[in-house]
């Protein structure tokens, strides 16, 4: 099951998808905020969101699991 890991340390600014949403490769899923800059995180697979491990406002580190795409 493909997992989307955070490429960068920062805070979760916005989550643009919900569990059950169908997503495609390169869809924008999450916006992180690092050093006062918004960084969009894109989907790396086609599939359905089965799990969202984070909520808006969370601090994440590089390599943390963000979303599971089934």
């Amino acid at each position: 099951m493909p997992e989307l890991l955070s490429p960068i340390a920062g805070n979760v600014w916005k989550i643009l998808v919900a569990v059950g949403d169908k997503v495609e490769m390169d869809d924008e899923l999450i916006i992180l905020e690092a050093l006062k800059m918004e960084t969009p995180i894109f989907s790396e697979d086609n599939g359905t969101i089965t799990e969202i491990k984070i909520k808006e406002g969370d601090a994440v580190n590089e390599g943390d699991l963000l979303i599971v795409v089934g």
Binding site: P7, L35, M37, T39, F42
Partner: protein
């Protein structure tokens, strides 16, 4: 009755106003607009702009030596070189040197970008500035406000307003000035390079870094001591994680307090008499030149490094070798993600970015040692 009225008018500022004063008001209003509306470095530009305005109201004698209120701020804060090191204390308490420790090679990029300073130094000499003035102008290329103020106040205090405003203005304009240079000097293919993951940095390494760096730099370039010692003390506060109150005091309260006096005093040096001369235009022009050359030098050093490295670095991060933290790193990240949306260069760019701060201080110290 008429006499009292006449006296009031003649002792008012109106009769002493000059055209130059009013031009300075205009400059002040433009800076206020940029600070408030465009949010260009507002923490500094706003007090600077207000300082310009009030010092160009005649007969207030705010900058009168030994008498004026703002002269005292200026004298104790800037002439005696107290405020820039205190700002560095706060910066040290905020800066994360982790990306530099994880990838020490990026120190070369921070050093390489300083090459721009020396180019500009000679360019300024060619334009007829004396050596002290040329050094103060060249340091603008380092894109570090406190260092620019520190060096100018020692070498060429009459240029302080112009070099400080120019340094802060170009820092705010990083997202406009740097990308064209970055795109010109790198290929699409190079911009797409995804870098190898940074190794984790232990707490011990983080604690040792400020101590070892302070000792090394101060032994090699003693004139860098006031700025480097404060920068590294602040960083030691932060990384030790045992003096949170001191860390916060350095990076928040103390820094904010001195920023007010710094901005106001720098603005107040800009009277019509000192600021409105053709030299100032050259300073802005040469400052921009310095900034562009420094950016280019960082990019070129990165490309040269790639000739020798197995794990290629993305040469864009060289542009972050100018010390505008974190604006230059953000800019690298943005240009990198335009070439490859899965390229997250922010943290990689922070390495040369924080190295640039150290590099600029060392460059300033070398200039100071030879010209002071």
């Amino acid at each position: 009755m008429f006499d009292i009225f006449k006296d009031l008018i003649f002792s008012s500022g109106f009769f002493s106003l000059t055209g130059g004063n009013m031009v300075m008001w205009l400059i002040s209003f433009v800076l206020m607009y940029l600070a408030i509306k465009k949010q260009y470095e507002p923490l500094l530009l706003l007090p600077i702009a207000f300082g310009i305005l009030i010092v160009n109201l005649p007969l207030t004698f705010l900058m009168e030596p030994e008498h004026g209120l703002i002269w005292f701020f200026y004298h104790y804060g800037i002439e005696l070189d107290i405020i820039p090191p205190i700002i560095f204390l706060g910066l040290g308490a905020m800066i994360d040197f982790g990306p530099l420790i994880a990838n020490p090679k990026t120190l070369l990029l921070g050093a390489g970008a300083q090459a721009g300073l020396y180019f500009t130094f000679f360019a300024a000499v060619l334009f007829g500035f004396d050596l002290q003035e040329a050094a103060s102008i060249a340091i603008i290329g380092g894109a570090d406000g406190p260092t620019t103020i520190y060096l100018t106040s020692k070498l060429a205090p009459h240029l302080l307003g112009a070099t400080a405003v120019s340094a802060y203005a170009y820092m705010a304009l990083v997202p406009i000035i740097q990308p064209p240079v970055m795109k010109l000097l790198t290929t699409e293919h190079e911009r797409k390079i995804v870098m190898k993951k940074l190794r984790p940095v232990s707490k011990l390494q983080r604690i040792c870094f400020p101590i070892v760096t302070a000792m090394t730099i101060m032994l090699v370039v003693p004139p860098a001591a006031p700025l480097i010692s404060m920068l590294m003390l602040g960083n030691l506060f932060k990384e030790s994680e045992v003096v949170e109150r001191l860390t916060k005091a350095s990076s928040n309260e103390l820094m904010n307090i001195v920023t007010i006096f710094l901005g106001l005093s720098v603005g107040a040096t800009m009277t019509a008499g000192t600021f409105l001369n053709p030299k100032v235009l050259f300073i802005f022009f040469l400052g921009l030149f310095a900034f562009i050359v420094s950016t280019s030098a960082g990019l070129i050093v990165a490309k040269v490094m790639n000739l020798f490295l197995k794990d290629k670095i993305n040469p864009l991060i060289g542009a972050a070798g100018v010390s505008a933290v974190p604006m230059a790193a953000r800019c690298v990240h943005k240009v990198g993600s335009e070439a490859n949306r899965r390229n997250y260069l922010l943290m990689y760019a922070m390495g040369p970015n924080v190295a640039g701060v150290i590099g600029t201080v060392v460059a300033a110290a070398i200039l100071l040692k030879n010209l002071g």
